[in-house]
Amino acid sequence: MGKKILEVQHIDKSFSGNKVLKDVSMDIMEGEVHTIIGENGAGKSTLMKIIGGIYSKDNGTILLDGQESTINTPADAMAKGISIVHQELSLAENISIAQNIFCHREPANALGLIKWKELNKQARAVFDRIGLDIDPSLLARDVSVATQQLVEIAKALSLNARIIIMDEPTSSLSENEVTYLYSIIDLLRKQNVTVIFISHKLQEVFKVSDRISVLRDGELVGTVDKESSSMEEIIHMMVGRHMDDLYPQKTKHVGEVILEAKNLSRAPVFKDISFSLHRGEILGFAGLVGAGRSEILRAVFGADPMDSGEILLVGKKVVIKSPKDAIDQGIGYVTEDRKQLGLFQSMSSRWNIVSSSLEHHRKHFGLIDRQKIGESSQTYFNLMDIRPKDDSKNVINLSGGNQQKVLMAKWLCAKPKVLIVDEPTRGVDIGAKSHIHNYLRKLVDEGIGVIVISSEQPEIIGLCDRILVIAEGEITKELDNRQNQVTQEQIMKHAVIKEQLHG
């Protein structure tokens, strides 16, 4: 590692009066893998988009190779050897991957007709650099997401990029693919290409980076060498507090049974599921992806059918055939996929919050009581600390964490007795995560029963008072966790136990 290839100095940036970057300065060394980490909304992407010429900065300077340089458009950045591999893939799916790489720079004859053989040859040469063996004439839609990502990287290389910015490149990849991506990043490092990596997955950050810069609320907290740092230190830098404080206290008082499920079955997804949920506790559903956790609880909520079994709410048998039945009975379900199932993306937060409880916001003749809606929305907006503080903004414009809070507010507004939360903090940064956890705890302290489904074992252990482990549609173990005594190994053992039995 030698000289400084890129320096940003005193960068400021505001969006409509909102300061997103405050006096950020940072050096990037040639040939290093430098991770920018920070919560959602910390300003990582904004900073990268300024370097990539997509946004313009309000103040500050950018130095390339020690020389001050102006980057006003993406084309400027590309000409200077800076490329961004975007999180949302931008490959055009109906043309070949070779063409996507050379996107409008295809080799062509004097008439502008593309020289396909030459194009494929050049594409192959770029693929060789990252050790990718694939037919360049395949259409982009015919290759996997992981390959598409690699094609994006190849595209950057074809532009002779010296600095490649990767914006959360692993978010849609499987484990094997992620390993492959790491090996390619290693290859790039050997070719003296500088990689700026944006992520909020700590473990991955420690695996790939040489140095790590932490952003918080638009300010640079610091830059550290991986070797001389620890995860705890980074977390502390990201959120300004220690990991021990990340999860709320466990339950103080467990009350009477509020929800009871008896022998729920639906072949072949789940079989003979019985459990009870008490007032004042958070019950966790742990297990591997595909074990049937969501399916069981979706059936409880009436969103999926079930073959047999009964559900008792506060000791009384209830018939739930549709989500509407469940909502009427006081069961809420915060879905896993907030984009597709939970929120109306292009409606305001206010309408989203009241969308499951419009019946409580009616005047005479069933007309909508707008004033009451405004009041309800404000109440939950403040309660969940959703930012920015403007409930007329469309949900699509909010960060992931705040969208999750709107989704929770929506269900709380319906005043449920039981709240089922599926992956409460997926894609949410640590700060918002902690807020959501604390809020769930507050809810159960007030007497609501909460069921949490999560694939993140630290979250299940940190949050839940009791844990049910599900494997292949059956409950394989119930674990008491009021003293925080459950370990990840314990959960894992029971999550895979059926697989072992079947060989």
Binding site: A92, N94, I114
Partner: protein, 326 residues
Amino acid sequence: MDNKISYQVKRTMNRLGLHSSAMIMMLLMLIVGMTIRSPYFLTVGNFEVIMSSFVLEAIMAIGLTFVIISGGIDLSVSAVLPMSAILVAMLLTAGVPIAISIIIVLLFSILIGFFNAGLKIVLNVHPFIATLAMQLTLRGLALVISKGENVSGLPKAFTQLGQGYFLGILIPIWIFFILIVVFGYLLKHHKFFQQVYFIGWDPDAARVSGMKVNFFTLFVFGFSSLLAGLAGILAAAQYGAAHNSFALGAELKVITAVAIGGTSMVRGGTGTMFGTFLGIMFMAILNNAFMMSGISTYWQDVVTGVMLLLAILLAETLKSKKLKLS
């Protein structure tokens, strides 16, 4: 070796699209069916009839293919057609030379397209609305300037353009075939035209990749309008007169042909000129089949509607499916 061939065949089919392959089979079935019913179906004379009844729409479909792949829509073509027919007829009856009349009308058509594109680029008006407004305006104007009457008395040299033959085939059909081959080839192989797939798929990504998206939008709408103008000139030549009722509702037939050909109306960046060609042939043959079979032509729209729906369902189901390449 066998494996290699089957790999290539499967790949070609995937490239062609399972949709196009299915369309070809449907076309063949239609042709075989009609040939069994009527010995006159598969004759050169009937082919001429098939093509000439749909040639104006077919020419416009070439332009629409670009517009729709680029993620837009152009409803104004069916009004550009009568407008330019009337304009060229008026210029000619006023004694303007043929070549100059044609050039003026074509330039006028391009300007209409630029205006459509400008509404999208500058004011961000959705092309559906912009071109719908243009369609109503132009059709009204055509009625106003022609007072609803035929503009006739066109010189023979001009009407030859629509009625004359070259090597035994009607000139407008030649024009259509030349245009679709040239622009089909360019769409597939030319750097400039290939941009349509990037821009239609994701205009922002295309912009970030350094493409001149606005310029391209001007081009596609200008081109679409230009071809509609050309169709108008040919219409005036074919009928020896121009009337404001030409091509009433033709925009829907054109869009139908493009959509049946597998160009996606849902998201840009999908579609081929070959598909459009299949769509055109399908519409034209269906049209002919109704005339020859003696079934009431009232049923034609019903069948066309059902076919459109089927073709799109087919495209949607086959979209994600492809033959496995091992």
